[in-house]
Symmetry: none
DNA sequence: TATGAATGAGAGTTCATTCAT
DNA sequence: AATGAATGAACTCTCATTCAT
């Protein structure tokens, strides 16, 4: 017979997992993937060294879970935030508003992502890119391509435009003074890109 | 002994140093700071394990030297490339042209920089930022502030504008498909920013 | 409560124990003592990790039980198989016939024994030797000594002869091609030993 | 500790390697492959933990080197010892004489081999079998097949006969009282096999 | 009695750094 | 100046064992 009632047990497992993930976010954000120490994460979460291996089979898997978790929340929040916007320009506007609000709320999480996107290890980059695919798809389809079709934006290689938008977006998620400045001015930043996309030749 | 004639010993030292730095660029670019292996660098340069410690007192110091070296060349080349440009817009244009040319020529070096700028360790970020201070100063003073004064650009927080420009710039230096796309379209990217800075409210 | 009727609880306990032992045989045979994983055994038997500790107090104890179990069956079967043989030579013959039949039937069990007999840890070897004492006694008393007395075999150190017989016997229980070959030719092997024991000086 | 003089470089490296191998023989013989501890070997040889990795890239490689080393000496000694024997029977006789003399001289080494031959891990067994291939080839070709051709031995499956001979041979190399008894009576053991092979049907 | 999450010692391996040569 | 063997702390991961339920 299970130690706890099934529902209670699962809830507790979920809770432990959450705690481990939270500790992992901090560790990865502070030290990067290769510098992060699995045992330290487990102890920071209040458990013994080995406990984390009851939840994640390896450092890689833990990292992927962390990134996936952040990305899921991040994407959901942003896509939700842009949901009511009728036209591409206002979608872009809201993308930055919602995204940077998330970044202000979870600076560590978002820094981890920004850092991992520039990681030298291709596996790491792939994990992040895969997790953020929904956001990239939204930007390319619903903002850039829709905006070009609807004459909101001038003709421009949509992939290039997407790359620039996401570059600025994740630039605002990074660590440092510049990133903070960007993050705190979602409107201004969106406006620059908007005008740029509208008129650039 | 005349100053302009370095002794043979000094010349050799310089040469060894250069080789070690070159090997270090590849290693750091490929594996990141924590993943890089000092012994491997020394051997890749054609020397024995211990030799590198005759030139750099520690891994940290070697990394700082690598970054400083790249930054010096990078800044010099870019500032040189923008030297003939009379007005801020054309300076911006040439910034991207020259900078991305450098990036195409030395992708490893430039990737290392982009990665280090997002490094989780603040010390690392500081090293890079300090090394790129000349470039940042140029962008802020000679492009953004000059452009605002001369009515090329609309009134905008100059630090924010600088942050955005540099964000896109270093985004083009990173690894990955998106960065490559950006890097190969310096003109289009500059144009987006130019129009954006000209008209955004 | 009548002695011959075990309570249902006891029957169930017995059944669980049997299942755990069976799983343990496979694990120990496949991975050896140090490589075996107690939790994996418990789960392979269809129970949770901790369950096995309700039946065996430690890995050592489990191993001893496994060995004892195999040895008991093995000895019983062999001694039964030789029961009808009137003279020492035919006892030797039947020893190999019955023993190798068991080995063919339970290759994992028998391999485990052969391996444990050569284990580097003296405690392990002692467990096995102790468990196989009945078989050794039979070989020494009823085959070798009886054979020498009855002039079936030449005069030879009975303990040495016993050691050789058992050496070949357990050699046929091991893993590998050679062992299989031996195991499949009980008659030929017995014949070699028989002639050897009859005439060697 | 030992920082060697340059002139003696190679010799000293060889010496260190020998010391590590000797320590490894004891460790593997005492604890078996999975129970052996690499760090303990290095320290038992008088060096720090990591030192052994300057000589052997992994535990597996160290083990293979140990086995190869023992096997080379063992085979050489035995083949040398049988060199002057003109006919198969005397070759068999000398095989046991020389082989068991080696076993008496290096009981740990030989025990390690006997144990590894029965290891549950197939990789381990393969390493040993491969290293002892010369001995097996000699027994099969120069003793068994030659003996059958020359009518020294009766017709018998040569592979089976080889398996039995090697089984007894390595049985005499094992740990334990029985093995010691066998090892100390090379003549009697050879005689048993000889007569057996001569007349068995 | 059965469960399985938690534990923490200990494994193999890596590598920045030292220093005698 | 150059070498590279030696060092040992630190890493990821495993697993026998415990114990609250």
């Amino acid at each position: 017979m299970p130690r706890y009632k099934r529902s209670e047990g699962e809830q507790i497992k979920e809770e432990v997992r959450r705690r481990l993930l939270a500790a992992a976010v901090d560790e990865f954000a502070t030290r990067g993937y290769p510098g992060a120490n699995i045992n330290r994460i487990s102890r920071a979460a209040g458990y013994a060294q080995g406990t984390i291996y009851n939840y994640f089979p390896s450092k890689q898997a833990l990292f992927a879970a962390v990134v996936g978790d952040i990305a899921a929340q991040h994407c959901e929040l942003v896509l939700q935030g842009t949901a009511g916007a009728a036209d591409p320009p206002s979608r872009l506007e809201r993308l930055f508003a919602a995204g940077f609000a998330f970044a202000e709320g979870f600076p560590n999480a978002v820094r981890l992502i920004a850092s991992a996107m520039q990681a030298p290890e291709p596996e790491v980059r792939e994990v992040v890119q895969h997790a953020y695919e929904p956001l990239r798809a939204y930007v390319e389809q619903e903002i850039v391509r829709a905006g070009c079709l609807g004459k909101d934006f001038c003709a421009i290689d949509p992939r290039l435009a997407t790359a620039v938008i996401l570059g600025v977006y994740f630039g605002g998620c990074a660590a440092g003074e510049d990133a903070t400045r960007i993050r705190r001015s979602p409107h201004a930043v969106a406006s620059i890109l908007l005008e740029g996309l509208k008129r650039s030749r």
